[in-house]
């Protein structure tokens, strides 16, 4: 056990990575073997992330489970992992969505082997991003996570997939390149005497008061912000996201909206806020403005959509507005809420996409005009979908409410107008979600759907119940998770606030 604890983070990256390699050698014809192998791997990863969650010592805080293996010492590159409260929450999210995604992928029948290979590779990248404390590896894992998505949508996708997958990849690559420029400039900026990618050393330099001068910070911050916010996605860089969701197969959408989008906001907190606190003070007010567009504009567009996945897609960009608002406000409560919302939204949206995927397999349409009255035929899926919609519109009892409440309360004293718009966003959210639900599940049923099959087996229900259970667990009692996140958030916010004091803002 202590051996596992010692190498927990390395294991979390290695397991899906090795699973990718092993899957190459599994016979493509033996689909059930590949599926079982995938589910077992993800199950072990989920267990490990729960172990991490339980073993992280909140009283100590800061980075724990540190491991450092020098790689290219001359360039200051080393394989370094470690987690704080923020990363633990994200690792737990990834574990839950990975498990649910693997289970839901059991119903894919086309090129099963390739699908799982890509899924494992993607998750290895995501785990890598969340635990890396070396900018070089951070970026490497970031790219590793993004590339499989191109193939997942390209092969297994549906409506307008060529356009969607091209757009998604180009956007994310462009964003990543901008971020890379920022990272390289940071590397060469002379923050430390010897250039290094080691996040801990860089952070140490900033914290000891030897940070970069204001002009450099103000130049670098927007590069990192725009680069990473593309995947977040921040308005007006959101355009890849709804179409990408709509075209992606269910399991890919789950990973994509569930964890991949969170890489962006995670990177902003982990790198941009931590290393460029004074740059943040200059630029965060702009984020506070742009996030209003996410919330209001995204919400109103969701209102006009007829394809359910587009509704959820635009609602995701609306919800990410709250994450950005929480980050922009930069109080302990609001950033904590933002990280918690990343977690909650990841689980919620994975649940939404898996449920839509479940009946789309049978109906082959997601257009609201074609659907209606499905509740009569598939009450289990319908009930869960209603609960998902309720979670999404911020109903207490689900983690989304608690996190949005924290964002709003935390932001009020900093940006009251965006906060008011954020509260209004809750009205908009309720409008489109209830309308979508009414038109798809309530009312009289079309004859066409009288053959629909509900989720009856345990295997079919398991991913849904896992995700819903997570949402409700932390919805009913958020303190364990919020206290954990707070240990990671507090030092970062403290740095920003002292930077503010120094700048006299």
């Amino acid at each position: 056990m202590s051996l596992i604890l010692d190498h927990l983070l390395t294991l979390l990256i290695l397991l899906p990575a090795v699973a990718t390699a092993i899957s190459f050698f599994l016979p493509a014809s033996n689909k059930s073997l590949i599926r079982t192998f995938g589910c077992v791997t993800s199950g072990v990863c989920l267990l490990l992330s729960i172990v991490l969650f339980l073993n992280y010592d909140q009283t100590l805080g800061d980075f724990q489970f540190l491991k450092k293996i020098p790689w290219v010492p001359d360039l200051g590159i080393s394989f370094q992992v470690g987690v704080d409260g923020i990363s633990v929450a994200m690792v737990l999210l990834t574990g839950v969505v990975y498990m649910a995604g693997s289970l839901a992928s059991c119903f894919i029948d086309k090129r099963v082997k390739d699908f799982y290979i890509l899924l494992h590779a993607l998750v290895a990248g995501v785990f890598g991003v969340f635990v890396s404390l070396d900018l070089f590896f951070f970026y490497f894992f970031f790219e590793l996570a993004v590339v499989p998505m191109y193939l997942l949508i390209g092969y297994w996708g549906s409506s307008n997939r060529e356009y969607a997958t091209m757009k998604l990849t180009l956007y994310l690559t462009a964003g990543a390149v901008v971020a890379l420029i920022g990272l390289l400039m940071l590397y060469f900026s002379g923050l430390t005497a010897e250039p290094t990618f080691d996040l801990l050393i860089l952070r140490e330099a900033v914290m000891s008061g030897n940070g970069l001068d204001l002009a450099t910070q103000e130049l670098l911050f927007p590069l990192l912000l725009v680069g990473f916010a593309t995947i977040a996605p921040m308005w007006p860089l959101h355009s890849w996201s709804p179409g990408g969701h709509a075209a992606a197969p269910a399991a890919a959408s789950m990973m994509h909206a569930g964890v991949l989008m969170k890489l962006g906001s995670y990177a902003i907190i982990r790198i941009a806020l931590t290393l460029l606190p004074e740059g943040a003070v200059t630029w965060l007010p702009w984020v506070a403005v742009l996030c209003c567009f996410n919330i209001i504009y995204g919400g109103y567009i969701a209102m006009t959509q007829r394809d359910m996945k587009f509704v959820i897609g635009y609602s995701s960009s609306s919800h990410m507005g709250y994450v950005l608002l929480g980050i922009a406000s930069c109080t302990v409560l609001s950033v904590n809420g933002a990280v918690f919302l990343m977690f909650a939204h990841g689980v919620m949206t994975a649940l939404a996409f898996s449920l839509i995927g479940f009946f789309y397999e049978q109906t082959h349409t997601r257009m609201l005009d074609d659907l209606g009255g499905l509740m009569q035929q598939i009450p289990f899926v319908g009930t869960l979908f209603l609960m998902t919609a309720m979670a999404s519109l911020g109903l207490p009892g689900f983690a989304n409410f608690a996190s949005e409440l924290m964002v709003l309360v935390g932001s009020w004293e900093r940006y009251p107008i965006p906060t008011i718009l954020g509260i209004f966003g809750l009205v908009i959210g309720a409008t489109y979600l209830l309308r979508m639900f009414k038109e798809s599940f309530f009312g009289p049923m079309d004859e066409r759907w009288s053959e629909l099959r509900d989720a009856n087996t345990l295997l079919e229900r398991a991913p849904f119940l896992l995700l819903l259970g997570t949402l409700m667990l932390f919805g009913f009692y958020p303190a364990p998770l919020t206290d954990l996140i707070a240990t990671g958030v507090a030092p970062i916010v403290e740095m920003i606030q002292s930077a503010e004091a120094a700048l006299g803002v």
């Binding site: 757009k167 180009l170 007006p236 355009s239 504009y297 109103y300 567009i301 209102m303 006009t304 959509q305 109080t331 302990v332 409560l333 904590n336 809420g337 009255g373 509740m375 009569q376 309720m390 911020g394 109903l395 207490p396 409410f401 608690a402 409440l405 924290m406 709003l408 309360v409 935390g410 009020w412 004293e413 900093r414 940006y415 009251p416 107008i417 906060t419 008011i420 509260i423 209004f424 809750l426 009205v427 309720a430 409008t431 209830l434 309308r435 009414k438 599940f441 309530f442 009312g443 009289p444 049923m445 009692y477 958020p478 303190a479 919020t482 206290d483 996140i485 707070a486 958030v489 507090a490």
Partner: protein, 639 residues
């Protein structure tokens, strides 16, 4: 080991969870668990009554735990029992318990009956959370949960599009109210430094109130004077009340909510949930009291809602809708009473109203069950067929109309008494005249309903029969309560004193006591006879043709019949403004962001690629030429 009150709160939640997780296959077991949960709550509550009567205003029970938080802000979840919440607990679990039993008879044979009981339990949990709450955030949490329970129960018959529309309308209207409510909570929380009721009240010191300049929303916010701050905060919090207690202009959802099964209308949309707003006003009375502007807004809004809804009730033909508009009207009375400083009068009317209005709704449910229609034009003469239901309905109507001796007399006259001695900020017409006119209208529309439903020739179809015992026994109990509450006060002055003191927040003005003297009785009789007499003339004796009155009133009747066109205005706003704004955003996204920026940059890339490709001709001569041109250019630049 958690103590008693936590069981009151969580047993219904456990019941809902159990039903959802498998018990629903056996509907009898589901109903039993749900009914047991609410009654267990009632009996635990009753154990606190003796303490409350002896302790007066004191807190009887208070525990709380940390729910979430970060930094120096934390959200707590508590259970607080004092006189005010005890009163409300008794109403919610007592009336709720009776309605659970009634629902057993009413919903029998419905395929979704287990689901129905799960929703009822969820509602009871949500409602009790409001009652128990010791801070604003907890109230907000349960405010939302009550909203969703109401949504689920209104939309219970989910195959009916009209039920879905009504459910959505209820939820969204409440969300609009909660928009203001949340902002109000944020303002109060940051200004007073806590969301805890006791802490907030303690922070409202004279020095605090005397502050000239008040910074709201931090450095990027607004500066306002202490007085402005109080009424703005109060007004925003009041939006939450408008939503839940269906006050004008957010009242539109309640009449439509009658799409839900009748027990729901009785429990949620008459007795308990809609009273939550009044309860909240009493809880936050310390916040409103120092501001005359805030009190005046509340009083006038309540008075107008009472009158407004009563006028609409006179024109309706759907039995449940008449009762719904009557509920709106009575809630208006309660809200007005709070605005006039009479929280005890408001809470008392809330309690008696819960009894007689629940009874009226359940009676209406029994009628609908029997004749399979809601339209009072297709009823008539039912008195002989359903005697028990008739008598309970009739007595409850008398109570609602404030007939001397019945509970409504005591409670409504408590409120009318307040209007007869109005504070300086009250408008004479709105506060002193309108409530009396409303009382006359109340007797009129209720007796119009009585005569058309129970008297005259039979216009119904089929063979209606009396309701089963599980349905009529709650009616009898509620009628008993509607009759007797109040008399106990008459005979026992101590009870009355105790009641008034426990539901009156500390520092509220001394209430005017209602004396059971001749002028009061005569005045009440006057009002009653005027309204009921008019209904008798028009709908029983038919000396005047109602159609002729309609024609004579012309536009006024059309105004009432169309609910003052408020719904039409909202529909217009949603269809034209909101929908078009959404389309505009979408158009912008399609044209500007996707077509121009995204595809434009893709096109630029492609085009520049094509341009560059033209020079990658593969011809060595061209390359050499270009190379030379480049060298020439560089030389030219350097020289």
């Amino acid at each position: 080991m958690p103590s008693g009150p936590w069981f009151i709160l969580f047993l219904p939640l456990v019941s809902a969870a159990l039903i959802a997780c498998g018990l629903h296959r056996n509907w009898k077991l589901s109903a039993a668990v749900s009914i047991a949960a609410v009654w267990a709550g009632f009996f635990i509550t009753v154990m606190y009554v003796p303490d409350a009567l002896s302790a007066g205003e004191g807190v009887l029970f208070h525990e709380s735990f940390r729910w979430a938080g970060a930094g120096d802000i934390e959200f707590r979840y508590g259970a607080l029992i004092d006189g005010l919440s005890l009163m409300m607990l008794l109403v919610v679990t007592g009336v709720g318990g009776l309605i659970h039993i009634y629902a057993l008879g009413y919903m029998k044979g419905d395929p979704g009956i287990s689901r129905f009981f799960a929703f009822l339990s969820l509602f009871i949990f949500s409602m009790l959370g409001i009652v128990f709450a010791d801070n604003l955030f907890q109230i907000f949490i349960h405010w939302e949960l009550v909203g969703v329970s109401s949504f689920l129960l209104i939309g219970y018959y989910y195959r009916k599009p009209s039920a879905n529309d009504a459910a959505n309308k209820a939820f969204l209207t409440n969300r609009v109210g909660d928009f203001g409510f949340m902002i109000g909570i944020l303002m109060a929380f940051y200004a007073l430094g806590t969301a805890d009721f006791a802490g907030m009240a303690a922070a409202m010191t004279p020095e605090f109130l005397a502050q000239d300049i008040f910074q709201v929303g931090g450095a990027n916010g607004w500066a306002m004077s202490g007085e402005t701050f109080l009424w703005v905060t109060g007004g925003l919090l009041l939006m939450g009340v408008m939503g839940k207690s269906a006050q004008f202009p957010l009242h539109v959802w309640l009449p439509d909510a009658m799409e839900g099964p009748t027990p729901v209308s009785a429990l949620i949309h008459a007795a308990t949930m809609v009273a939550a707003g009044v309860f909240l006003l009493c809880r936050l009375f310390f916040l409103y009291m120092p501001s005359e502007t805030a009190m005046s807004i509340i009083a006038h809004m309540g008075a107008f809602t009472a009158f407004f809804a009563a006028t609409i009730a006179t024109t309706q033909f759907d039995i449940k809708r008449i009762l719904a508009f009557s509920t709106l009207s009575q809630l208006g009375y309660m809200v007005m009473a709070v605005g006039l400083g009479g929280t005890d009068a408001a809470m008392f009317h809330l309690t008696t109203h819960a009894f007689f209005k629940a009874c009226l709704f359940l009676g209406a449910g029994a009628v609908i069950h029997a004749v399979h229609t809601n339209d009072i034009r297709e009823m008539g003469g039912l008195r002989k067929v359903m005697p028990i239901t008739f008598w309970t309905f009739f007595i409850s109507t008398l109570a609602l109309c404030g007939f001397p001796g019945l509970s409504g007399f005591w409670s409504k006259d408590g409120i009318l008494h307040l209007t007869a001695h109005p504070p300086a900020y009250a408008d004479t017409f709105l506060i002193t005249v309108l409530p009396t006119v409303t009382a006359v209208l109340t007797s009129y529309y209720m007796f119009r309903l009585i005569f058309m439903t129970w008297f005259g020739e039979a216009r119904y179809h089929g063979k209606p029969h009396e309701a089963p015992p599980s349905m009529w026994s709650p009616l009898v109990v509620l009628t008993g309560l509607a009759t007797l509450t109040g008399w106990s006060f008459f005979f026992n002055a101590e009870t009355m004193e105790a009641f008034r003191s426990i539901t009156r927040p500390a520092g509220a003005p001394e209430p005017h006591y209602v004396h059971f003297d001749m002028p009061t009785i005569l005045h009440a009789l006057e009002i009653f006879t005027l309204g009921a007499g008019a209904a008798w003339v028009a709908f029983h004796k038919k000396w005047i043709d109602p159609e002729k009155i309609k024609t004579a009133l012309g536009p006024i009747h059309r105004l009432f019949d169309n609910r003052w066109y408020v719904d039409d205005v909202y529909t217009w706003i949603v269809d034209n403004i909101q929908q078009n704004f959404a389309r505009l955003c979408n158009l912008f996204d399609q044209l500007v962001i996707i077509k121009t920026l995204v595809n434009g940059s893709a096109w630029t890339t492609r085009a520049s690629g094509a341009l560059a490709a033209r020079y990658q001709s593969g011809s060595v001569r061209a390359y050499v030429l270009l190379f030379l041109a480049g060298v020439a250019a560089m030389l030219a630049l350097n020289l």
